[in-house]
């Protein structure tokens, strides 16, 4: 009897947790199809706000900026992170532990600290112009660690004898990398990119500090809309796109995994 009660409480708390996590998002999504622009009352169904999005040049520009930044960040962070993961996994060297901890640093310390420090550093010391260069450099610092640890996770489950075999059969380091190591790591390289792209696209805090004037990404644009309480429903529509995006990415991962399982 007691076990049953514990189980019931457990189930109830779980349901409550899911409702809490999803409730606000689902409601927001539904209300983005609402006719009334300011109301919190449901009126009728419309796609007007989504059409409006495409007719607002400022929003489209912000989307393009965000996409550009996220693409460049993803390429560089994935490459640097994958290489680092490989080095950390393969070689035992002094300072390996320290390096691992250092790579963890930017993702464990609250963003506001690191972002503030970067702003001071860029403007006072390094003289890196705020805007695209600063945002991309900052984004790489925060997202390359993700690639390192995603790849490290995968490396523990790889059959490394394939790499040795390639060397034994006379392939040089470069050929081994190109023909054996990279194909073996492809799933985790892909997973890193899939993780980093939305991170960079969605990031607010870091971008806010180092963006300067004029480089308004989509989250920054959204923030300014919120601050001045412009058309709530238009905000709902943008928000819904933000929520849909990670779901699409998850489906992407799933389909990719499904494919790699079929070929294996």
């Amino acid at each position: 009897m007691k076990v049953l009660n514990a189980r019931k409480i457990n189930t109830l708390l779980t349901i409550a947790g899911y409702l809490f996590i999803w409730g606000p998002i689902v409601v927001l999504g539904i209300f983005s199809f609402n006719t009334s622009a300011y109301g919190v009352k449901w009126e009728s169904l419309t796609l007007k706000w989504y059409v409006d999005l495409f007719h607002t040049p400022a929003i489209m520009k912000a989307v393009l900026r965000s996409l550009l930044i996220a693409s460049i960040t993803t390429v560089f962070a994935t490459v640097i992170g994958t290489l680092a993961g490989y080095g950390l996994y393969k070689y035992k060297f002094s300072g390996r532990r320290v390096l691992r901890m250092s790579i963890l640093l930017p993702i464990t310390v609250p963003y506001v600290i690191m972002a503030g420090a970067l702003l001071v550093y860029f403007t006072r010391i390094a003289h890196i112009p705020l805007g695209y260069p600063a945002i991309i450099i900052a984004h790489i610092s925060f997202s390359a660690p993700l690639a390192v640890f995603v790849n490290l996770g995968r490396m523990q489950r790889i059959n490394w004898s394939l790499e040795e075999a390639s060397v034994d059969l006379g392939a040089n380091t470069f050929t081994t990398w190109r023909k054996v190591t990279i194909p073996l790591l492809l799933p985790s390289i892909f997973a890193s990119a899939v993780l980093i792209f939305p991170w960079s696209f969605n990031d607010f805090t870091v971008t806010y500090f180092v963006a300067g004037v004029g480089t308004t990404t989509l989250p920054l644009y959204l923030f300014s809309m919120l601050e001045y309480s412009l058309k709530p429903v238009l905000i709902n529509a943008i928000s819904f796109i933000f929520i849909i995006m990670p779901i699409i990415f998850v489906l992407l991962i799933y389909s990719y995994r499904g494919k790699s399982k079929q070929t294996a």
Binding site: V3, A6, N10, L13, T14, G17, Y18, F20, I21, W22, G23, P24, I25, V27, L28, V40, I80, G81, L83, G87, K90, Y91, F93, L99, I103, L105, P106, T108, V109, P110, V112, I113, M114, G116, A117, L118, L119, V120, R124, I125, A126, I137, I140, S141, L152, F201, N202, F204, T205, F209, P219, L222, L226, P232, S239, I243, M245, P246, F249, V250
Partner: protein, 294 residues
Amino acid sequence: MAASKTFMKIKTNLQLLPTVGPISIWIFLFVFAPVAVIVFISFLAAGPIGEILPRFSIESYRYLLFGGSEYGRAVLRSILYAFVTNMVCLCVGFPMAYWISKYGGKFKALFLFLVIVPSWSCYIVRIYALKQLVGYPGILNNFLLNLGFISSPINILYTPAAVVLGLIYIWLPFMVLPIYASLEGINPALLEASLDLGATPRWQFFTVTLPLTKGGIFGGTILTFIPALGDWLVPLLIGGNRVWMAGNLIQHFLVVRGKIAMASSMAVILTAAVVLLIYMFIKLGGEESMERIV
């Protein structure tokens, strides 16, 4: 022998360079250097309009912590809010992780994805979603008013309770993940053994399951306590800039008032708190808690 050893060492170093080289340089230039710079600036004196003077001073630390101002209280408030957030996340996150692990069956991955997916979405969008739902004018208030459950709107926005609710909402998923990983890592033989030795399910939970998930619990604590401690958007957007936390002070001094020395001191105080707490959590939770973070 010695020569070949030296040769091997050189060879390893040459292989290291292209792999961990780039990230080492990057971390050094864009993580360590900026942190070093703000630590340095935090010990410099500031002029009347916030400009930095090349003179050693701990004035900004004194002012922030003991100035009898709102600032010291904001730091204490951050620690309190982060603690409450962490505790609530643990009380809801543990049952969720436990439920998924125990009753998830073949849908475990799906249930887990349902926890993580929202956290991949844009941070301010999630805060905004919560605000739209529970605020006034808000959807929930409107709904309850129409049904007659409440006679006047409840406005919880701009209160400490709302800020904590927001923090829980944002960081809850990060508690579930490490605990789930920990639960999945428990050797089932240990659970069977405890039952064979006569433990009741409740006894088994508290003496076997819970201690074995210590790493996950402290891993989750690092992932919720630390970011909640440094959060500045939840207090800004849900607290309406009336309930300040430490992160708001950094943004305020740096962006709004241009007082770099003060902002740096605040950042150093917060970093010190973070490092101390992470160290404590890892000591309490063991090495596993560190592995569960990533």
